[in-house]
């Protein structure tokens, strides 16, 4: 069952924390990734969608029907809380069966078996959750969430605590659910690569307010704040206070000129070997480390640590510490941070 979901002006109050207004639109097969620092309101948003927190304002519509006042058990959501919420006293089998048992479904046994097979849980059926690995627990959680044929999957940090392989596998599972079953999803995550592999739009929360809401391309085009810039993998993110409190110099002054109210972000500068047309500065190597993405050099210029990345392959010798280097910055790659709030002027 896939539905059209619309969230209009959702606002929630949890003690002193205020969330919203949030607007969302989800068609079958859509996935939204919710980003933000701890305490930004991501979990609050998910719990409000799932019906555990009352709406102060706004409404939640499913296929045009207002379900804002429906009880959590009436909403047909596949809500997976942080930590997965597996029942510790029930085996894998009985966890997956639970939603079917509660509904008294005639096909409980058959459907349970299908799900166990689909998620390769057959051999683990009699184990308790505490005896499973993180990836196995994740598979139980998703199998259980799907048992009730949810109209929307709401998942709080699916990739938390998983190793690289399990992350990759879970990414495939979610991808497949989206493609074949067209179940819309709202996912909170801190993992950029997986977020980009699943989500077609992004919602960035900051202190309970929507900081940014846009599609993947637009998000990549211009980070709205330091959090998003770091999330997107910008090598260099300088917040305004750090820029303003240091010895003056031409590099620092140039960055301040290109900063927004909250600072500035830019990818790796170009390492220059001779004169060029780019604005350029001198720096001293502070560290040089090989990485899967190439050679990562940290250089100090005007007391600011700039990170340069030279594409692989990395070949010895690595630059010695303290040696001077010259780097150039293309102004078109430098993004001011905090120039807008909300998505009016953004993407």
């Amino acid at each position: 069952m896939s539905h059209q979901w619309t969230v209009e002006g959702l606002e929630t109050q949890l003690d002193r924390f205020h969330l919203g207004p949030v607007d969302l639109r989800l068609a079958p097969g859509n996935a939204i990734a919710v980003l933000g620092m701890s305490g930004a309101g991501k979990t609050t948003l998910l719990r409000t969608l799932a019906g555990f927190l009352k709406l102060k304002r706004g409404r939640i519509l499913r296929d045009g029907v207002d379900i804002s006042r429906w009880l959590p058990e009436e909403r047909d959501l596949g809500y997976v809380p942080q930590g997965l919420g597996l029942m510790p006293h029930r085996t894998v089998l009985r966890n997956v069966r639970f939603p079917l048992e509660i509904r008294g479904r005639a096909d409980t046994n058959r459907r349970t078996q299908e799900l166990l097979d689909q998620f390769r849980l057959g051999e683990l059926a009699d184990r308790y959750p505490s005896r499973l690995s993180g990836g196995e627990q994740q598979r139980v959680a998703i199998a259980r969430a799907l048992a009730a044929d949810p109209g929307l999957i709401v998942w709080d940090e699916p990739w938390q605590g998983l190793d690289v392989l399990a992350r990759y596998e879970l990414g495939l599972v979610l991808h497949e659910l989206r493609e074949t079953q067209r179940i819309p999803m709202v996912i909170v995550t801190h993992d950029p690569s997986l977020a980009f592999s699943i989500a077609d739009s992004f919602l960035v929360l900051s202190a309970g307010r929507v900081r940014e809401q846009c599609d993947a391309l637009a998000l990549l085009r211009s980070p709205v704040d330091a959090f998003v810039a770091r999330f997107l993998g910008f090598e260099n993110v300088f917040e305004r206070p750090a820029l303003e409190s240091g010895p003056p110099g031409s590099f620092r002054t140039w960055l301040l000129e290109h900063s927004g109210p909250e600072g500035v972000a830019f990818p790796s500068p170009t390492l220059l070997s001779g004169p060029g047309t780019l604005p350029a500065w001198e720096g001293k190597v502070r560290s040089a480390r090989p990485s899967p993405h190439g050679l990562v050099i940290e250089a100090v210029a005007d007391n600011l640590v700039v990170t340069l990345r030279l594409p692989p392959p990395v070949s010895p010798p690595l630059p010695a510490l303290g040696t001077g280097l010259r780097f150039g910055l293309d102004p078109s790659t430098v993004h001011p941070l905090g120039t807008r709030f909300g998505w009016e002027g953004g993407c």
Binding site: F52, P72, Y79, P81, G85, P88, H89, Y128, S130
Partner: protein
């Protein structure tokens, strides 16, 4: 680079006592002292009452009646704890409501007040001549000097242990598990029956055991309101007392040997019961040894 020769394994001597035999000795000494405190009076009791006296006490019909009454009344008190105590514990663990602090203090009150006081309070309520006395007579639950009086006193002093234990156990259940269950389609009652209760069961059972233990050991309140128990309700035997009151009466009458023998007999029974439960938990046949309790 070759490793330097090592004379002795590297240790941090100043930290060794924290993990070494000294630490173990400290634990054993402290625990041992406490256990000694438990054991010595019991040994004294058994020395005073030889095995043949205990055996004859066990064969004595009067003693059997007191033990039967004690078990019957404490059983009903435990039943009351299940029916009324567990729901209150759940309420306190899961809901916020005005006056909650007052309710919590009320629950703790019976644990704190001297139980003679409890007996006195009930005494003024149910002695012949009061409206409550007439009412309880009419509905067939006479309280004064009956098993119902015993149950009432026992429940008063012992049910709080179940309330407190259930509250703690319910509170320890991860709220996210409950939210997940609701989102999967379970209503509040279904979540209670299928999730909260089974997970909290072990702690609740511990509370029920404490309730039972507290009930059978009660004497203060009983001396006031039911020192003699006349047949009524589930108890249809001859006039008797609870074991605790009976032992007290023997002691007051100067029958020290008999008092020691009955005490020893009851101690053995109680010890066997607790041991049975513990062994049951260890062997894993009890229903409250759920998955989360696996090592």
């Amino acid at each position: 680079m070759s490793p330097e020769p090592v004379d002795s394994p590297p240790t941090a001597p100043h930290r060794r006592w924290r993990t070494g035999p000294l630490w173990l000795a400290l634990q054993l000494t402290l625990s041992g002292t406490l256990l000694l405190l438990f054991v010595v009076p019991i040994v004294a009791l058994f020395t005073y009452a030889p095995a043949k006296d205990i055996l004859s006490a066990a064969r004595n019909v009067v003693v059997q009646e007191t033990i039967w009454l004690t078990f019957l009344a404490s059983g009903v008190a435990v039943l009351a704890a299940i029916v009324f105590g567990i729901p209150l514990g759940y309420l306190l663990a899961r809901r916020a409501f005005p006056g909650k602090a007052v309710v919590e203090s009320l629950v703790a009150l019976p644990v704190v007040v001297p139980h003679l006081l409890v007996g006195l309070g009930l005494f003024f309520l149910v002695i012949p001549g009061t409206p409550v006395y007439r009412f309880t007579q009419e509905i067939g639950f006479p309280v004064y000097d009956t098993i119902w009086g015993v149950v009432l006193v026992m429940a008063f002093v012992s049910v709080p242990y179940t309330v407190l234990a259930s509250e703690l156990s319910f509170r320890a259940v991860d709220g996210r598990v409950l939210e997940a269950a609701r989102s999967l389609g379970a209503g509040n009652a279904e979540v209670f029956l299928n999730v909260s209760f089974p997970i909290a069961l072990r702690g609740i059972v511990a509370g029920l055991l404490l309730t039972w233990a507290r009930a059978v050991s009660e004497i203060g309140g009983l001396l006031v309101i039911a020192s003699f128990v006349y047949p009524a309700g589930p108890y249809s035997g001859p006039v008797t007392s609870t074991v605790s009151v009976y032992i007290y009466q023997l002691f007051q009458g100067g029958n020290l040997t008999d008092a020691a023998a009955v005490s020893s007999l009851f101690l053995l029974i109680a010890f066997a019961l607790f041991l049975g439960v513990r062994l049951g938990e260890r062997s894993g046949w009890v229903p409250w040894r759920g998955g989360q309790l696996e090592p």
